[in-house]
Symmetry: C2
Subunit: 296 residues, 2 copies
């Protein structure tokens, strides 16, 4: 299989579905829907939707079944970016080279666009017609899993502790607390949702949960490494934004080589968890390798 | 029946349940959970939960069945107040005589406390164990109804248009657009959720929907009237906050007497819709009278 192609196909599918599910730009209130669409279609890599589709297919499911949930997941991810960028939070003017939501639409609309994306994600997840082939029991369980991972003891909790830790030296358990929640929780939820929607039994769900926990953390460590290594490779580029903000990272706490070692360990742990799933889990294995190897 | 007593009993029940369902103040991250609880227990009148319980009982249901949903509804209402009060929005320092969330916990935590309350509401609504007696199909439908009413074409949409209309003269259709969404949508959702959880058939659901639409609007008109009349009655008090902000109100557009007439009309419409439901709908009738008569 060609991983690049696989990811591209997933991404195109998710983007087409998002365009259908999100209210049109000219539907009232137009300013709100414009702001929502601006950030949803701002060049995201759709990592969570891709992982959800791959997890669904790993247990023999059909990608079609996860499209509403995959879009909901991306809407939740986008809301979190819009709110993280706000002046009261990270105060970022640019994201992926484009002005952030509040720079274009103003702070009030940006807050509300985030609120609306989060809410509309749950509209999508609970839609009986869109999810017609999924039993209501599973639909509820998927929604519950995603909401818990996004909530006060998941993603939002991680963001709070991250914010409170800025500019302070933190210990390793605090760093893991932040990362397993701020980014790890939603990645895990994407994989569990894909498994559940694909019809996984409890054993397959447990295997994919182990994969999701390991990959979520590996993904974050790789990101920390790239924040340092990416910069060193390009002369004249600004220092890493994490370093500049005094944010704790795996590299800062463990050193570059130990961080790389930990990422490789987690990659192998994740891949090992997939053993019982055979060939349909190949995309997930390749993704784990891709995540970690790009930072080695 | 004694309406005051009925409301007091509902309120106590909902407050006890909220205390159980919300993460404890000392559960991590403590600052976030403190901020969430601060605004949830800030003396809210619990109108939406009361209406949900009353709608459930009107179709022969048991209040116990709606408690998780009633608490979720109050968490959504509270999130909307926290975000509305932010400096970028209404910039309010006080609500019900207490400093607003961002004044106590800072803007970043206030934004995240709102985000977390909205998310945790959906955790609660989708919890299979808490909602064990409710079939998954109904649980999903209730969640969908509430999410839709809170989303970009419901409550958030109303808030956007309200914000955009501030200080500008707006026409009557725009005023109704704002009110049916900003406050009406969540009131209607509370009543529909109560009906569904109480086991309403489609005819009873339709009757309660008519009641909910009429009461939601009546409630807002009464509020507009009280913003004017409440002030006139007390010499030396500040002018109404709506007037001060240049917000359009029913009183400003229709005049006091016509606004009162419209509120009474809606009250009668709402009460008439309940005819087929008999005695169990008595609390809902009394609430409709209470809402409108306090402004007459």
């Amino acid at each position: 299989m060609d991983l690049k192609n696989y990811i591209k196909e997933c991404l195109d599918r998710v983007d087409r579905a998002l365009d259908v599910y999100l209210p049109a730009e000219d539907s009232l209130p137009a300013s709100l829907h414009k702001a929502m669409r601006y950030s949803v279609f701002a060049g995201g890599k759709r990592i969570r939707p891709v992982l959800m589709i791959a997890a669904c297919e790993a247990v023999g499911g059909d990608a079609e079944q996860v499209l509403p949930a995959a879009c909901a997941m991306e809407m939740i991810h986008t809301y979190s970016l819009i709110h993280d960028d706000l002046p009261a939070m990270d105060d970022d003017d640019f994201r992926r080279g484009r002005p952030t939501n509040h720079r274009v639409f103003g702070e009030a609309t940006a807050i509300l666009a985030g609120d609306a994306l989060l809410t509309e994600a749950f509209v999508l997840l609970s839609d009986a017609q869109l999810n017609g082939r999924v039993p209501a029991e599973i639909r509820c369980r998927v929604l519950h899993t995603i909401a818990r991972c996004a909530g006060s003891q998941g993603m939002v909790g991680g963001q709070v502790v991250d914010m409170e830790s800025e500019g302070r030296s933190i210990d390793f358990p605090t760093l893991e607390y932040i990362h397993t929640r701020k980014t790890g929780a939603l990645i895990l939820a994407a994989i569990q949702a894909g498994a559940l929607l694909g019809g996984a039994d409890e054993a397959a769900l447990a295997a994919l949960t182990r994969y999701g926990e390991a990959s979520g953390l590996a993904f974050q460590i790789a990101d920390d490494i790239l924040d340092v290594v990416g910069d060193q490779a390009v002369i004249g580029k600004d220092v890493g934004s994490d370093q500049a903000r005094g944010k704790a990272t795996y590299v800062a706490l463990l050193g570059l080589e130990e961080a790389r070692g930990r990422a490789r360990e987690l990659r192998d742990l994740g891949v090992a968890a997939l053993a019982s799933l055979g060939t349909p889990a190949e995309p997930l294995r390749r993704i784990a390798h891709y995540i970690v190897d790009r930072s080695s």
